[in-house]
């Protein structure tokens, strides 16, 4: 049998909400048993049943909104199903992926459940039967609901073999994986003690423990105590898990299932069958029993059951061996979780192998001497057992009342080679690498709740670098509507950022809900922004930027004759000379743009200011890198050959205000129209100085530019003429180019030699180009692609793109990887799905465990009357859960229902069908995403609408379907119908 990796776990058992709490309970030898909660039944009403057992807290809690389940359906759902859904979410998260990523995959779901008590309890009163109750009454729906809500299309089945159900489910899941039926499987089980009925049966059979506690292998063992539990593991084929870099808790080496057949009574255990299932599991795993260090036994603590199990275990494991085979049973801690019993033992064993220590078995101190464990080569664990180095093997047994036995063989996870630890070379004061930590939630409150949970979890870790945590959060904690993202370097910064954002109203910038994808425009900076050592900080920290700058460097070196990146990074002052400045800026612009696009940031349009148009053209696909590199080097050389004497000045006024001055100074021209009051002039130095003095005298602000050349003026004519003779292979841009040569979006004009020649002597029409860009693509984000901020300031002054967020991944000499990370974080908050891996070096892409998602505990559903109606506790009407009012998707548009009877009727119909409180049903609420409507509910909705709006007459579902986007769209559709009917 092939190896199966356990890559994710979630569970809730009595006294242990979550995997961590479960392990803590086991290691401190705690027990989760307690008195029967009043919500289940009044203990005094059922004296024949033990007044205590294992009950999980909050069995009635269900975050129905999260799973888009209507309150009415949630109330009609089997509690087993309600507990499984969040458990599945957390288990998938624990496996290192966002659960939403599995949507549409052939992931299998295998759930052990026992009985189907809920269906029996709720469907027996025929007067109360409803479609919703009917849909929930089948145990099979336990698995199917997970598949439905997570959109998993692999095999999906509930398994009922009584108490061995959940280990049989694991066995089936493993076989399904090995058969190639699915690539990922969720397996486990659930059990909720809804009523005292099965407890009464155990009592009548003489199998019930008086104190409600299982005491496995103890001299005091006197029977079973029943318990709640839910647990799921995420399984993958070992080779897939290793290839995917998953965290592996343990490896399922083999498993087997068999049956007692016609044994000594249908519910009696059978020693020989148990021996056979153990042997066949070891055979399938390819191990011999002498190598098995520990067996998590079925161990219910019934006198007969313990005796038979120990006889079988002894017969198999009592072979010559170095140390006795340790045994124990988690039922001492939890009680018998029945349909979830196998998974409780399985998870305990997986965690024991993961932590390399096996917890002690409770009630072991008074070991039952009649079991003769020592003679049989076994040892009941009276204290925790540390497992030795290397691989340890362990077995898990689970036996069903009807004779279906299961045994699984687990081994330690293989050692995983870590990527070359260049992190070890942190060398004293070096800073930790920057990453972006992400959290998401289905509502604003959920986001705050989960920010607080993450903050608390990270604060409990030793201080350290946060990059691996960030990477893990990107893989797991993304995908829900409300988003948080912040760039951080270490855990201190991370905790501080999470705590700030978890405090409502503070720092609204780091969290929010995007309603679409961001529309990004790249603005490529031109000459004048260069400086020695530009982008060195980013180069040090960003592997992607290093890679792309090297590409540009290679393309340029062929023409420049030296390494431009070396020139840039070494802080060489020659970077100010045009023959180096132009290739250097082109290299930086190209590398920055490629870094962003490799991160998944695709521009909707590009704009380049003067020289910036070269890198913009490459990004738009108009020029290829080699061609652009050749041209830029040529342009730089041509510029350098120009005679000195030219200059440029910036004037804070429009050219119309000083046309007289320009006319009076031959050779002076407008070089760039950056904004309405933002003009650059070029010309002979002395002439410009005269204009400058005159303008200053008129109270107009004037500033010199460092350029020793009169760019974009007739003085550039020799360079332009030379460029015009080039042969420039170019393509139509694949991305709109807002041309600063033409001051509009480039249409059919090729970016050929003529373009580049004109471009150097004609004025830069920045303002109109920016205006055209705004009109054409309406960007939500402007990103400056250059080593120092220029264009964003120009855009801010000109006001052509109001409302767009300004981002700059390399804003000046102090820039590091931090600003690039902030750029990615801002765009993620704005709706982008970045390619996160590009942000991290390979050695940082390590899966770190993160605290699981915290669901809302606001909504509770428990109808005791329906479950337990035998005795006479005061009847409590089913409670329609209080659902907190939540602002709709668009809180700025309040619903004015009073003067809109159609909308009011729709709201009432939806409220009735979904069981929502009316304030939840706002105009913007979407039927499928927000209100969880399905086809059955739509039929009901149609009937409700027709009944409430008789004047509309009959509406077919076909007619209604296109209008079923939101409550508002349906109301509008019905309004039109009314209008048409009355016309």
């Amino acid at each position: 049998m092939g190896d199966i990796a356990v890559v994710g776990i979630d569970c809730t058992f009595p006294g242990a909400a979550g995997v961590r709490a479960y392990w803590d309970l086991l290691m401190r030898g705690g027990a989760g048993t307690g008195p029967v909660p009043g919500q289940r039944w009044e203990a005094r009403d059922f004296p024949a049943v033990s007044g205590s057992g294992g009950f999980i807290d909050d069995a009635d809690v269900f975050d129905s909104d999260f799973f888009s389940v209507t309150p009415r359906e949630a109330a009609a759902m089997d509690p087993h199903h309600r507990l499984l859904l969040p458990c599945a979410w957390r288990a998938l998260e624990d496996s290192g992926r966002a659960p939403g990523d599995l949507a549409g995959t052939e992931t299998g779901v295998f759930v052990g459940v026992m009985g189907g008590e809920w269906g029996r309890l709720t469907m027996s009163d025929l007067a109360r039967v409803t479609p919703l109750l009917g849909a929930g009454s089948s145990a099979g729906m336990a698995a199917n609901r997970i598949s439905y809500h997570f959109n998993l299309t692999g095999p999906s089945l509930a398994v009922d073999t009584a108490c061995s159900s959940s280990l049989v489910a694991v066995h089936l899941a493993a076989n399904s994986l090995l058969a190639g039926e699915c690539d990922t499987a969720l397996a486990g089980g659930v059990n909720i003690v809804l009523s005292p009925s099965l407890g009464m049966v155990y009592g009548q059979l003489g199998l019930a423990a008086a104190d409600g506690r299982c005491k496995p292998f103890s001299a005091d063992a006197d029977g079973i105590g029943r318990s709640d539990g839910v647990g799921l593991v995420v399984l993958r084929r070992l080779e897939d898990a290793l290839a995917d870099g998953r965290r592996i808790y343990a490896v399922l080496r083999g498993s087997a299932v068999n049956q007692d057949g016609r044994s000594n009574g249908v519910i009696a255990p059978n020693r020989w069958s148990q021996q056979r299932v153990l042997n066949s599991a070891y055979r399938r795993a390819g191990v011999t029993p002498d190598r098995v260090a520990f067996v998590e036994a079925h161990g219910t603590g019934t006198v007969l059951g313990d005796a038979i199990e120990c006889a079988a275990l002894g017969a198999v494991h009592g072979v010559p061996r170095d140390t006795p085979c340790a045994i124990g049973s988690v039922k001492g801690n939890l009680g018998h979780t029945e349909g979830a019993a196998g998974i409780a033992g399985f998870i305990k064993t997986v965690l024991a192998l993961h932590h390399r220590i096996v917890p002690a078995s409770l009630f072991a101190a008074r070991e039952n001497p009649q079991l003769r464990l020592g003679e049989r080569g076994m040892r009941l664990l009276k204290s925790p057992m540390r497992l030795p180095r290397g691989e340890s093997l362990a077995g898990v047994s689970s036996f069903g009342m009807g004779g279906t036995n299961a045994h699984a063989v687990l081994g330690s996870a293989p050692p995983t080679p870590r990527p070359a630890a260049s992190t070890g070379a942190r060398g004293g004061a070096a800073r930790d690498a920057v990453g972006v930590f992400t959290v998401s939630g289905d509502t604003p409150e959920a986001l705050l709740r989960n920010l607080a949970a993450q903050a608390e979890a990270v604060a409990g870790r030793p201080r350290g670098g946060a990059a691996a945590l960030c990477w893990s959060s990107n893989r797991v904690k993304t995908g829900l509507p409300y988003r948080f993202a912040a760039p951080v370097r270490d855990t201190d910064e991370l905790v501080a950022a999470l705590r700030r954002a978890a405090t409502p109203q503070e720092e609204p910038g780091s969290a929010g809900r995007p309603w679409g994808r961001p529309v990004v425009a790249f603005l490529f900076t031109g000459q004048g922004s260069e400086f020695p050592g530009m982008t060195a900080g980013l180069h040090r920290e960003s592997p992607a930027y290093r890679r792309h700058l090297a590409e540009a460097d290679a393309a340029i070196a062929a023409h420049l004759g030296e390494s431009v990146s070396e020139l840039i990074l070494s802080g060489d002052e020659r970077v100010h000379r045009p023959e180096f400045a132009q290739p250097a800026l082109f290299a930086v612009g190209y590398a920055l743009a490629r870094t962003l696009t490799s991160l998944g940031i695709t521009p909707a349009a590009v704009l380049g200011h003067s020289l910036g148009e070269y890198a913009a053209a490459v990004t738009a696909g108009a020029l290829d890198l080699a061609e652009a590199a050749r041209l830029v080097v040529r342009r730089g050389a041509l510029t350098a050959e120009l005679p000195a004497g030219g200059a440029m000045i910036a004037v804070a006024a429009g050219p119309e205000e000083f046309a007289d001055l320009l006319a009076g100074e031959p050779g002076t021209v407008v070089a760039a129209l950056n904004g309405p009051a933002d003009t650059l002039l070029s010309g002979p130095r002395e002439a410009l100085e005269r204009i400058g003095r005159e303008l200053t005298g008129r109270g107009v602000r004037v500033g010199p530019l460092p350029a020793p050349y009169a760019f974009h003026s007739p003085l550039m004519a020799p360079a332009a003429a030379a460029l015009r003779t080039e042969t420039v292979p170019c393509a139509p841009p694949a991305i709109p180019v807002a041309s600063t040569r033409h001051g509009r979006i480039l249409r059919h004009e090729p970016m050929d030699a003529g373009y580049w020649a004109d471009q150097i002597e004609e004025p830069v029409l920045m303002d109109t180009a920016l205006g055209a860009l705004a009109l054409d693509v309406a960007p939500t984000h402007l990103i400056e692609i250059g080593p120092r901020g220029q264009l964003l300031r120009i855009a801010a002054r000109g006001g052509r793109v109001p409302g767009a967020e300004h981002l700059h991944p390399a804003p000046g000499a102090g820039a590091t990887g931090q600003e690039l990370a902030e750029t990615v974080a801002a765009l993620y908050r704005g709706g982008l799905e970045p390619r996160w891996e590009e942000l991290y070096a390979p050695e940082q892409r390590i899966v770190e465990p993160l605290a699981p998602y915290v669901f809302s505990a606001e909504q509770r559903h428990w109808d005791r009357q329906a479950f337990v109606s035998t005795a006479g506790p005061v009847a409590r009407p089913p409670v329609v859960p209080p659902v907190p009012p939540e602002p709709g998707p668009d809180p700025v548009a309040p619903v004015a229902r009073a003067d809109d009877p159609v909308l009011e009727a729709v709201v009432q119909a939806v409220t009735e069908v979904g069981g929502y409180p009316p304030e939840r049903v706002v105009r913007e609420a979407r039927f499928y995403e927000d209100l969880g409507f399905d086809s059955v509910m739509i039929m009901q909705l149609k009937n409700q609408v027709e009944a409430r709006l008789p004047r509309v007459g009959e509406v077919s579902v076909q007619q209604m379907l296109p209008a079923l986007r939101s409550v508002g769209s349906l109301a509008a559709f019905l309004d039109d119908m009314l209008l048409a009917r009355s016309a």
Binding site: G424, G428, R463
Partner: protein, 346 residues
């Protein structure tokens, strides 16, 4: 070369990775001079330490972190760099002169923060030689059959130094403590097979030689009966240290070298005792000249006591190539403990 490197050498212990932690931003001499009311040049001239880190606010004296926090950070970084999880670590040895509490030990607090459980945890009360003592004990535990363990060293200064209004009247021998010491922690993961950085520990020297000699350094503590005592809590016999430490260092040097049969030319790197920038320079001058490159940290970190050799190791590891050898020397002047170790990357 007197002995070939055998990667599968039984009976050899390896350093797989190191991790360090220094609290907050470095405090430079200008800032320290302002705090103490002394000239920056005085610190430069007499101590030669340029920066150090304090886990307490040099202005308000507010204590921001603990030794356990620093050690846990260093330990977690070392484990992360070695690619080992909590289940892989089989022992903890922590050396310090300044534990957070007498009980429970800082070592047990660190084990808890690192998620370790059910394993032996030792704490060594030591000064500058503590890191070597921890290494010595850790090596013994590995040779006794453990697979991997964590050794740590660290110290914090807040109990002995604090911003005081009356530094102007402080005697020089007390004032000097403020400019000598700093807070820090370091850790190393030891393994029984070459892993991670694959640095074999070829020798460890750890020998108390204080019989009949007065202490060169004193760190006192006080409790309910004598809390108002005016006696100095921190004192150093600088004359004795200046006189003896360089000479002892030379002896340690030769003892390690001769024990291994290595020659001067075999050592690529030298990790000298880190008392202060000035003292370390003086010690190095006295050591026999050879090709070895000096790896020191004290000028940037201050004297961080038990953390020092780990801070040096972290600087050393990126420089070490396969086959390179390094020698570390340590003198604890409290009661004259000679310590050192020899490393070789395999």
């Amino acid at each position: 070369m007197t002995r070939g490197a055998d990667p599968a050498d039984r009976g050899t212990v390896y350093v797989a990775a190191t991790g360090t932690a220094l609290p907050g931003e470095p405090v430079d001499n200008a800032a320290l001079g302002r705090m103490l009311g002394v000239g920056e040049e005085w610190i430069d001239l007499f101590v030669g330490t340029r920066t150090r880190h304090f886990g307490w606010d040099p202005v308000t004296g507010e204590v921001r972190g603990s030794l356990a926090g620093l050690c846990a950070e260093a330990g977690a970084r070392a484990m992360g760099a070695a690619g080992l999880g909590p289940a892989d670590i089989e022992f903890v040895v922590l050396a310090t002169a300044t534990p957070d509490l007498l009980l429970p030990s800082t070592a047990s607090e660190v084990a808890d923060r690192l998620g370790l459980d059910h394993l032996p945890v030792y704490q060594l009360q030591a000064g500058c030689s503590g890191a070597v003592q921890a290494l010595d004990l850790g090596r013994t535990l590995i040779l006794g059959g453990r697979r991997a363990g964590l050794v740590l060293g660290g110290d914090v200064t807040h109990r002995f130094l604090s911003p005081r209004r009356d530094t102007a009247r402080m005697p020089t021998e007390e004032l000097v403590n403020y400019v000598l010491f700093g807070d820090g922690a370091g850790a190393a993961v030891l393994t029984d097979e070459p892993e991670g950085e694959r640095v074999a520990v070829r020798a460890v020297l750890n020998s108390w030689t204080g019989r009949g000699r007065p202490p060169g350094q004193l760190l006192d503590w006080y409790g309910t009966t004598d809390r108002d005592s005016e006696r100095p809590m921190l004192a150093e016999d600088y004359k004795a240290i200046e006189e003896h430490v360089p000479a002892i260092s030379v002896e340690i040097f030769w003892e390690l070298l001769d024990g291994l049969g290595w020659s001067l030319d075999d050592i690529g790197f030298l990790l000298p005792p880190q008392l202060s920038g000035r003292m370390t320079a003086r010690i190095v001058e006295r050591l026999p000249a050879g090709p070895a490159r000096e790896i020191s940290c004290v000028a940037e970190t201050g004297n961080t006591g038990n953390a020092l050799p780990f801070l040096q190791l972290e600087r050393l590891l990126p420089e070490l190539a396969t086959g390179d050898r390094a020698l570390a020397l340590c003198v604890e002047s409290s009661r004259w403990i000679r310590a050192g170790f020899a490393l070789e990357k395999v």
